[in-house]
Amino acid sequence: MMPFFAVSIYYDMPILLIVVALVYSATRHDRWDKILKEAGRWLWHIVLFLGGIGVVLYALSTWL
């Protein structure tokens, strides 16, 4: 089985998502508690969205 970090997307993508969530949220608020809360919310939504697409693509590639 291929080592987890042999596929770079597994560590490239989290870096991108964290930066996007943090920077976007920091442009919406000035208070750090709100920035971090909103960043966490955005991160969770993006992960869910991408995960959903991943599941759909996996299903399509496996059963079609």
Binding site: D12, L16, V19, A26, T27, R28, D30, R31
Partner: protein, 190 residues
């Protein structure tokens, strides 16, 4: 009794801070006193930009010479010069907004000399790579090379939000009562 919501004072725009944040992400915020935010923007965006450059073997931020790219025709209008270069290298339209980190590409573009392998000041950094080098990178590499320029473009485009934050402050005014119906652009911290 009618609900009279007090109107927040209009925000004063800060174009100098916006310009500083364009040149260096977060610098405008630091000048405004929002130091932690400024550092967050600086490290996050520069980190993302140079991480993307590293993924692309430091050869994914550049502008081609107009004579080296095919002609571009938009609605019957033939693009020439820099517009033609940008039409062929649209990635730079996003990378440009990271500010100073992408300026060497402009210096290389203006001072490009086909007879030489390096340019003034920056050597081969952000200089248009020879076609055979680009072909070899894409042929021998994996998808990470393509992902690299995407990271640099995202960093540049995110800096547009940072520039606007420096110009007009954050979207929401956290120091006001959050029960007000429409959140106007917030005041900057003094």
């Amino acid at each position: 009794m009618p609900d009279v919501t007090p109107v927040s004072p209009a925000r004063r725009l800060d174009p100098l801070a916006a310009l500083l944040s364009f040149a260096l992400p977060g610098l405008g915020q630091v000048v405004q006193g929002r130091i932690a935010k400024g550092f967050l923007f600086f490290f996050a965006l520069y980190g993302l930009f140079f991480y993307g450059m590293a993924m692309g073997q430091w050869k994914n931020v550049w502008l081609p010479q107009p004579d080296d790219v095919p002609a571009v025709d938009i609605l019957g209008y033939k693009l020439e010069g820099t517009a033609r270069s940008l039409a062929q290298r649209r990635e730079y339209l996003g990378q440009f907004w990271i500010g100073a980190a992408a300026w060497p590409a402009l210096v290389q573009y203006v001072n490009f000399d086909k007879t030489k392998e390096t340019g003034p000041i920056f050597g081969s950094f952000q200089r248009c790579p020879p076609e055979e080098v680009l072909n070899q990178l894409q042929r021998d590499g994996n998808k990470r090379w393509d992902l690299g320029w995407v990271f640099t473009v995202i960093a540049g485009v995110l800096n547009l939000l940072v520039i606007y934050d420096a110009l007009a402050g954050p979207m929401f005014r956290d120091d006001e009562d959050e029960s007000t119906s429409s959140p106007p652009a917030g005041a900057t911290k003094s």
